[in-house]
């Protein structure tokens, strides 16, 4: 258990040294009873399955989002997620993994030593009991879904070309650096920031970028005047179900081993998610008199988001609180959005931005060293300092994501163009961007 997120606690370089030490000197870090941990088939099986589960989350997200848009944009919405699986899979093995996790001294990037996965050691110190390829491909799936999350903010109005170029740049200049800083041996990791499976790296980075994009792009044509109800809620529920299923790989897989820590992450993930779904429904009951299916699904996703950074550091009770509170925060954020009138179409900021922020801070509140000795205690266990570390990471992630998104937006908008024309938007992206229709007579 102690090895799983070692890098997070000790910084990548220390961890690398320690790992090297295993084989060269035979020294053992505190808490380890054995020399260099051998490759474990059980851990490898778990990490490969987890990688497959996380891969499935992106189509899950595609359906979750696609069900919410109007019929004329169903394919374009699916396509945004689907093509990102392809695009980032290639980006990651060519340069992304090297930038995020490769060795190097720069602040933002790991370096270019591992381009095309060359020169990689057989095992990563961040996952010492599995082949390096397993850890690399597991991380690839995180790199894929993160830009896909943003799709919710610009749904129904982004040009396909603009989307592709923007996403590639965003993955390289926003995701890879933040992953490096928190997980890959960078500053926030060394600082002791706790982010078990991506509250800041995944959900805040995408959530705050989504907010910036929603504001920069402006509202959808007809927003506020037309009805824009979800065109197919069975698709939304299918997506939410695949997300819940896949998220076990995301969170419990982040233990990088099939051990007690993974089990803890699995249980806290499920509990917070359940609690958040119940809370969202309860809030709706009070607010509107009726609990909705979309609300249950939204609450579940909010719960999954919030527990993501915390799942390997908090206990059951922590997960109940984190789940209960996140729905209150996200639901409120969405109502505020409706008041303010900006168009974060499918609430990427409202759910991932707000939920990710809450999760990252909540980790600083409920974390327990007794759950994860490689972690730290949080406020409730008498360590308020951890909350400050979390706050720093949260602040940096928000500011960096927004700033870079603004830059990239203008860059892409001036070159290939970001938003489609009025007629294309009216026609729908399926026809205008892809020359297809979702459903035929």
């Amino acid at each position: 258990m102690e090895f799983s997120r070692l890098g997070v606690r000790l910084g990548w370089k220390t961890a690398a040294l320690a790992a090297a030490g295993f084989s060269l000197l035979g020294t053992v870090p505190a808490g380890a009873q054995q020399a260099a941990p051998a490759i474990s088939a059980g851990d490898t099986a778990w990490l490969l399955v987890s990688a497959a589960l996380v891969l499935l989350m992106t189509p899950g997200l595609a359906f979750f989002y696609a069900g919410m848009v109007r019929k004329k944009n169903v394919l374009a919405t699916i396509m945004q997620s689907f093509i990102l699986i392809a695009l980032i899979s290639v980006q990651w093995v060519i340069w992304g993994y090297s930038l995020a996790f490769g060795p190097g001294k720069s602040f933002l990037f790991g370096g270019l030593d591992w381009l095309f996965l060359k020169h990689m050691p057989d095992v990563s110190p961040l996952a010492p009991t599995v082949p390096h390829y397993a850890y690399m491909i597991f991380q690839a799936m995180f790199a894929i879904i993160t830009p896909a999350l943003i799709c919710g903010a610009y749904a129904e109005r982004l040009s396909f070309k603009g989307f592709v170029v923007f996403s590639l740049l965003w993955a390289t200049f926003v995701y890879d650096p933040i992953a490096h800083l928190v997980w890959g041996g960078g500053y926030f990791g060394s600082l002791g920031a706790l982010d078990f499976a991506g509250g800041t790296v995944v959900h805040m980075s995408s959530g705050y970028s989504a907010l910036a994009l929603a504001l920069l792009l402006g509202k959808r044509k007809g927003y506020g005047r037309e009805n824009m109800p979800p065109h197919n809620l069975t698709l939304v529920l299918l997506g939410a179900s695949l997300l819940w299923f896949g998220w076990f790989g995301f969170n419990a897989g982040s233990a990088c081993a099939a051990n007690a820590l993974a089990c803890n992450a699995f249980v806290t993930t499920n509990t917070a998610t359940a609690m958040a779904a119940l809370m969202w429904c309860a809030i709706e009951m009070i607010h509107h008199g009726k609990a909705t299916t979309l609300g249950a699904a939204s609450g579940a996703v909010a719960g999954l988001v919030a527990i993501t950074p915390a799942c390997g550091y908090v206990d059951l009770v922590g997960s109940l609180w984190i789940g209960a509170i996140v729905s209150l925060l996200c639901y409120t954020a969405i109502q505020v959005k409706i008041q303010l009138g900006y168009d974060d179409s499918l609430d990427t900021f409202g759910v991932h931005g707000v939920g990710g922020t809450w999760g990252a801070l909540a980790t600083g509140i409920w974390a327990l060293k007794s759950i994860n000795s490689a972690g730290a205690d949080g406020v409730l266990a008498g360590n308020p300092g951890q909350f400050l570390v979390q706050l720093k990471t949260v602040g940096f992630t928000a500011v960096y994501s927004i700033a870079l998104t603004v830059v990239l937006y203008f860059l892409v908008d001036k070159t290939v163009g970001m938003r489609v024309g009025q007629r294309e938007e009216e026609l729908g992206l399926d026809l205008s961007q892809h020359g297809e229709e979702g459903y035929h007579i």
Binding site: P229, H288, K290, T292, G295
Partner: protein, 112 residues
């Protein structure tokens, strides 16, 4: 001459209406899914707190019949589709100037 009878009914009444029509010898019907709004207001739906006024699902049953059969057909529909509650729907009767059976090219009343 012929008339087109368009009955906007509740989906749950379809079977009864069709059976009723068939029983008296009018098997030729066309059914379409529509949504509507009348005395029976649509219901307010809510998606993540955003309200949407929904229409209610209805079916339109269309039958073209000779002028003389209109009354009989309308009566059957009224009888089979009525629940007495708001939302039972409407029947509209309108003139048809010609009918052609595509298979044979037959025209007029014998084509319906």
């Amino acid at each position: 001459m012929m008339k087109k009878i368009e009955a906007i009914i509740r989906p749950s009444a379809l079977r009864a209406v069709l059976d009723g029509l068939k029983a008296v010898g009018y098997p030729g019907v066309t059914v379409a899914e529509v949504q509507g709004h009348g005395k029976q207001k649509g219901i307010t739906e809510s998606y993540r707190g955003q309200s949407v006024e929904g229409l209610l699902p209805k079916l339109v049953v269309t039958a073209v019949v000779g002028d003389k059969q209109v009354k009989k057909v309308v009566n059957i529909i009224v009888k089979t589709a009525r629940t007495g509650e708001i939302g039972d729907g409407k029947i509209f009767v309108s003139p048809v100037s010609d009918a052609i059976r595509i298979r044979t090219g037959e025209k007029g009343e014998k084509a319906v």
